[in-house]
C-alpha cells in the first residue's frame, strides 16, 4: 500500500449540490521525505521508507541519526514504509499529496484513537446494562451481568469482555472518499471522521 503521513487538522461540514450535508475532516499530509529505498536485491522486497515532520537533531536517538545521515536528510519524527509507489524515487526526494492521491478516490486512514481511560463495559463494549432501577435492584444499572456459567467451567473464559482501558490504540477506517485536495497547503479533505485528536498523526493509505 502506498500512502503518506500527516496530521489531523479538524472537522467541518458543508452542504453539497444535492442539499445533503457532508461531514468532512481536513488533514495536513506531507511533504514526506524519502529516507530509504528498499529493493529486492538488498532487502528481499520492494519498499520506500518515508519520514514526516522535521525535528531537532538532539531529539533523535543516535542510531536513527545515523540512518538519517545516510539518507542525507534532516531527522524526522515519524517513519513509515510504503510499498507499490509508482514514482521512481531516491533518498532525499520529497513526496506530496499529488504524487499519490487524486480527488474522488477512496482511501484508508490510520490514527491513534483518543484515550478514554478506564471505562465500564457499557461504553467500552456496548453492553446494554441491566436496564432499569425498578424490581428491587439498585446501583447496578451499568453492570456487566453474568460472566458465564457456574460449576462448569468454574472459571471465566479468556477474552471475556470486561471494564478496562479504552482508546489510545491504533484504529484504521476504511474507504473514506477524498473530497478535495489543496496542493499548495498540503491539505486533503476526506469525507467522514478520522481517528485521533486534532494534531494527531495519521497515515493515509490507498
Amino acid at each position: 500500500m502506498t500512502g503518506l503521513i500527516g496530521k489531523k487538522i479538524g472537522m467541518t461540514s458543508f452542504v453539497n449540490e444535492e442539499g445533503k450535508n457532508v461531514p468532512c475532516t481536513l488533514l495536513e499530509l506531507g511533504p514526506c521525505v524519502v529516507t530509504q529505498v528498499k529493493t529486492a536485491e538488498s532487502d528481499g522486497y520492494e519498499a520506500v521508507q518515508i519520514a514526516y515532520e522535521p525535528i531537532k537533531e538532539s531529539r533523535t536517538t543516535k542510531p536513527l541519526l545515523g540512518h538519517f545521515k545516510k539518507a542525507g536528510v534532516k531527522p524526522h519524527r515519524i517513519l513509515h514504509e510504503i510499498r507499490g509507489l509508482e514514482k521512481e524515487v531516491k533518498p532525499g526526494d520529497a513526496l506530496t499529496i499529488t504524487d499519490i492521491f487524486e480527488e474522488g478516490e477512496f482511501v484508508d486512514v490510520v490514527g491513534r484513537s483518543k484515550g478514554k481511560g478506564f471505562q465500564g463495559v457499557v461504553k467500552r463494549h456496548g453492553f446494554a446494562g441491566v436496564g432499569g432501577r425498578t424490581h428491587g435492584q439498585h446501583n447496578r444499572e451499568r453492570a456487566p451481568g453474568s460472566l458465564g456459567a457456574s460449576s462448569f467451567p468454574s472459571r471465566v473464559f479468556k477474552g471475556k469482555r470486561m471494564a478496562g482501558r479504552m482508546g489510545n490504540e491504533r484504529v484504521k477506517v476504511f474507504n473514506l472518499q477524498v473530497v478535495k485536495i489543496i496542493p499548495e497547503e498540503n491539505i486533503m479533505v476526506v469525507k467522514g471522521a478520522v481517528p485521533g485528536p486534532r494534531n494527531g498523526y495519521v497515515l493515509v493509505l490507498k
Binding site: I9, G10, M11, T12, S13, F14, V15, N16, E17, E18, G19, N21, L26, E28, K180, I182, E185, I187, V189, R198
Partner: protein, 122 residues
C-alpha cells in the same frame, strides 16, 4: 478554529443573501427536485432563530398553515436555496423567539424598518 478550516468553509459560504435575524418575516425560495423536474417552493414565515456558524449555519422559519404551525430548518448556505427575501423587519428583544409558539391568537411583532442601519443590510 483552525484558520485552514475557516478558509475551506469560506468557499461554500453564500454572500448573496440579505441580512436577517429573529423576528423578521422572510420568504425562502427552496429548490425541490421531483423526479427529474426541479421546481422552486417558497416558504414564508417568521424567523425564530439562526443557529450555528460558518458553512453549517441554519435558520428556523415558522408559519401557520391551515391552523397548524409549521417550522422548517434551512441550512443557510445550501445551494438549494434559490434566494431569500425579507418581507418585514420585526423588532424583538431576544435572539431566539420560541415564545411565539405559545402565543394564542395573532402574533404581533413590532416593525423595525431600520433594523440593520441605513443600508438595510446586504
Amino acid at each position: 478554529m483552525d484558520p485552514r478550516i475557516q478558509a475551506f468553509e469560506e468557499q461554500f459560504l453564500r454572500n448573496d443573501l440579505p441580512r436577517f435575524g429573529a423576528g423578521d418575516t422572510v420568504v425562502v425560495y427552496y429548490k425541490i427536485r421531483e423526479g427529474n423536474k426541479e421546481r422552486i417552493q417558497p416558504f414564508e414565515g417568521i424567523v425564530l432563530q439562526r443557529r450555528g456558524r460558518g458553512a453549517s449555519e441554519t435558520v428556523t422559519v415558522r408559519k401557520v398553515s391551515h391552523g397548524v404551525g409549521v417550522e422548517r430548518i434551512f441550512p443557510i448556505h445550501s445551494p438549494l436555496i434559490e434566494k431569500i427575501e425579507v418581507k418585514r423587519y420585526g423588532r424583538v428583544r431576544r435572539a431566539r423567539i420560541f415564545y411565539i409558539r405559545n402565543i394564542k391568537g395573532k402574533i404581533k411583532i413590532r416593525e423595525h424598518p431600520n433594523k440593520y442601519g441605513e443600508a438595510g443590510g446586504k
